[in-house]
């Protein structure tokens, strides 16, 4: 178990505030990137389904299917974007804070 003083030092470390602020903002923005398109999609499904029945040119395929697939693939790519930054930049910052605070 760590002593309270380590925690105080982390708390007062300027990089800690920066880390938390940046990571929290990033996570919230990405969550919105997933939730806003998803719930917009669900609202169109509920209120104006005809919109999704439009076909792509002469094809029988409607815009509903590629949009649905895009929701799945796009959300997955966003998880990739998140871990790229979290496992790189944010983790380096965390290690730095921990190292300096526990020294």
């Amino acid at each position: 178990m760590s002593s309270p003083s380590v925690q105080q030092r982390i708390r007062q470390h300027p990089k800690f505030a920066e880390l938390v602020a940046r990571r929290t903002r990033f996570a919230l923005v990405l969550s919105l990137f997933v939730l806003v398109p998803y719930y917009s999609f669900m609202m169109v499904v509920a209120f104006n389904p005809a919109l999704l029945h439009q076909t792509l040119g002469d094809s029988v395929i409607t815009i509903a299917w590629p949009l649905g697939a895009l929701l799945v693939i796009g959300s997955w790519l966003l998880t990739g974007v998140y871990i790229r930054r979290a496992n790189g930049e944010f983790d380096e910052l965390t290690q730095k804070v921990l190292k300096e605070a526990t020294r």
């Binding site: 760590s2 990405l30 998803y38 669900m42 609202m43 169109v44 499904v45 029988v60 959300s75």
Partner: protein, 557 residues
């Protein structure tokens, strides 16, 4: 211990063989199929290899940390496969594909809703879960709150979800195996229960994880192969596939967009909230975050899991649509050979018939074995989560107040595993022929309204107090269970009343709101000294959640 595992494993196999031989004589009714030799052979190969792994894992399972979390020594990639394995049950393969087969795009909306929770779990929870938790989700919920009350309540929440989900899986297992293997229902349930007990009791999380990984690889591989075989029939053209499907489906072009299934916005939102946040409240899924060494690997595992699950869901969509053409027009798959009539084996079978149509009996056998393996893996994960709630939370932390020695806690975890196995067999037999569709809504409803609120608030909100968490949890539980009872799935379909009092099948919109509201209200009005201490303890928890300072590390192997 290992002699025991060998003995029990042998007994399970012998029982399985005996059941397979005894089955034809015991069969009656229209649903059962002749004994499927290739399916049984492939399944026995799966069972033998997983028992081998259990034997190996039993040697590695020495401490409680090994039992609960495989010592935190699983890599992100392995854990990603295992999470995907936990999440993709036989219901995913059979249920979602048959929904798309029957309803077209409406089924795809369900598929998407089952998926979208994963990125959110990564962004908002994965890291904090790993940094704060040790063995179970109750560790986090009760981190700075009253151990006796909140840990007991969280363990109770876990056990409730585990129980409901076990009933769904066991009944599904019995029916599926009876259908695919020609094995009698009760034998099937007993075989699944015993194998699950063997994996969990002797191999703990190490064995459960590897069973999960093997199953995920088989399911992904089998599903992809089936998709390629089916898609080849359309010359790998989406245009051909969809246009043929539209021309033969009884609803025609309606299957290409949203239909009647989610026309009500309240219903759509309630369903999506339940699926989204229910996923984040499933105890066997959350437990997987503690099997990796650190937050970095936890994040990676969600990235891989999300990729595998997303890929598989898209595969399932292609399977559903191609089944419309390939299965939907073939008289051999309909009762009495009447195309458009009742599908042989019931509404969940299109994907199995598709396997037979494009890959013959051998491929059908392979997919049947995969479906069985899938059920086995999911129930093992559930049993382990349930056993941990009993032995780690209730026994070691609440009854023994953290003073239990490792040997007695290990003993308790094994007793609990066997107990849950017996309960699973009992409920499997008890609920045979019952209409259990509502249990899925109940599982996700309780997970989203009881487990999720206390978990997310304990991590994010300083003001959460023991009293607030307890009353909020009770409000969530009571409203989720109450609303499901009053919903069409129980009130009309099970109890036989004419009209449902609560018109929606999924309670989450209302029960989650109730849980959050009550938690907030009781917490802010809680002026006790304990509430003050709990708010002060948030600081330490917050720093650990953000940095991993003091987080449980991987034990050496």
């Amino acid at each position: 211990m290992n002699r025991f595992s060998k003995y029990l494993g042998g007994a399970a196999l012998a029982l399985f063989a005996a059941a397979a031989v005894a089955a034809p004589g015991a069969m009656d009714g229209v649903e059962k199929q002749p004994v499927n030799v290739s399916a049984i052979a492939m399944f026995i190969a799966f069972v033998l290899s997983t028992l081998g792994i259990t034997y190996w894992a039993a040697n590695k399972t020495k401490s409680t940390a090994d039992f609960y979390t495989a010592g935190g020594g699983i890599t992100g990639f392995q854990n990603g496969l295992a999470i995907a394995g936990d999440y993709m049950s036989a219901a995913t393969l059979l249920g979602l594909s048959s929904l798309i087969y029957a309803k077209g795009f409406d089924g795809f909306i369900y598929t998407i809703s089952f998926f979208v929770g994963w990125p959110i779990i990564l962004f908002l929870m994965a890291e904090r879960l790993r940094n704060l938790g040790k063995f179970t989700f109750a560790d986090i919920a009760s981190y700075r709150l009253d151990q006796g009350k909140i840990r007991t309540f969280a363990a109770f929440g876990s056990l409730t979800v585990v129980c409901f989900y076990l009933i769904v899986q066991m009944v599904g297992a019995g029916q599926l195996i009876q259908l695919l293997f020609g094995l009698e229902y009760n034998y099937a349930v007993v075989v699944v229960g015993i194998l699950m007990m063997v994996y969990v009791t002797f191999g703990g999380m190490v064995a459960t994880t590897w069973v999960q990984i093997i199953k995920a690889v088989l399911l992904l591989g089998g599903g992809t192969m089936l998709m390629l075989l089916a898609f080849a029939k359309f010359g790998f053209s989406f245009e051909t596939m969809f246009s043929t499907a539209v021309s033969v489906h009884k609803e025609g072009a309606k299957i290409m967009g949203p239909g009647s299934l989610l026309s009500n916005p309240v219903s759509a939102v309630s369903l999506s909230l339940g699926l989204l946040f229910g996923t984040a409240g499933l105890p066997h899924i959350m437990m997987r975050f503690f099997t990796v060494p650190n937050a970095k690997e936890a994040r990676k595992s969600v990235f891989y899991a999300t990729g595998f699950i997303g890929f598989f869901f898209l595969v399932v969509a292609v399977l559903g649509i191609s089944a419309v053409v390939i299965v939907g027009q073939d008289p051999q798959f309909f009762e009495g050979g009447k195309v458009g009539g009742k599908i042989i084996g019931g509404g969940n079978m299109p994907v199995m018939h598709l396997a037979k149509a494009v890959g013959g009996d051998i491929f059908l056998g392979f997919l049947s074995a995969v479906a069985f393996a899938t059920i086995l893996a999911v129930v093992s994960g559930l049993a382990l989560a349930g056993a941990s709630a009993i032995s780690h939370d209730i026994y070691a932390r609440v009854i023994k107040k953290g003073q239990a020695d490792a040997i007695s806690e290990m003993r308790m975890s094994k007793i609990a595993s066997v107990g849950i196995g017996l309960v699973a067999i009992a409920v499997g037999i008890l609920f045979k022929d019952q209409n259990i569709a509502f249990l899925v809504a109940l599982t996700f409803g309780v997970a989203a309204s009881v487990n999720f609120p206390v978990l997310i608030l304990s991590m994010y909100w300083k003001g959460l107090t023991t009293r607030g968490a307890l009353w909020g949890g009770i409000a969530g539980l009571a409203s989720a269970v109450g609303l499901v009872i009053l919903s069409p799935a129980v009130w009309v379909k099970v109890l036989g009343y004419k009209e449902a009092i609560f018109p929606y099948d999924h309670p989450a919109l209302f029960s989650m709101s109730a849980a959050f509201l009550v938690t907030w209200l009781v917490s802010v009005t809680d002026k006790s000294a304990q509430a003050k201490q709990e708010a002060e303890a948030f600081e330490e928890q917050y720093i650990r959640a953000q940095t991993g300072l003091g987080a449980a590390a991987a034990s050496a192997h």
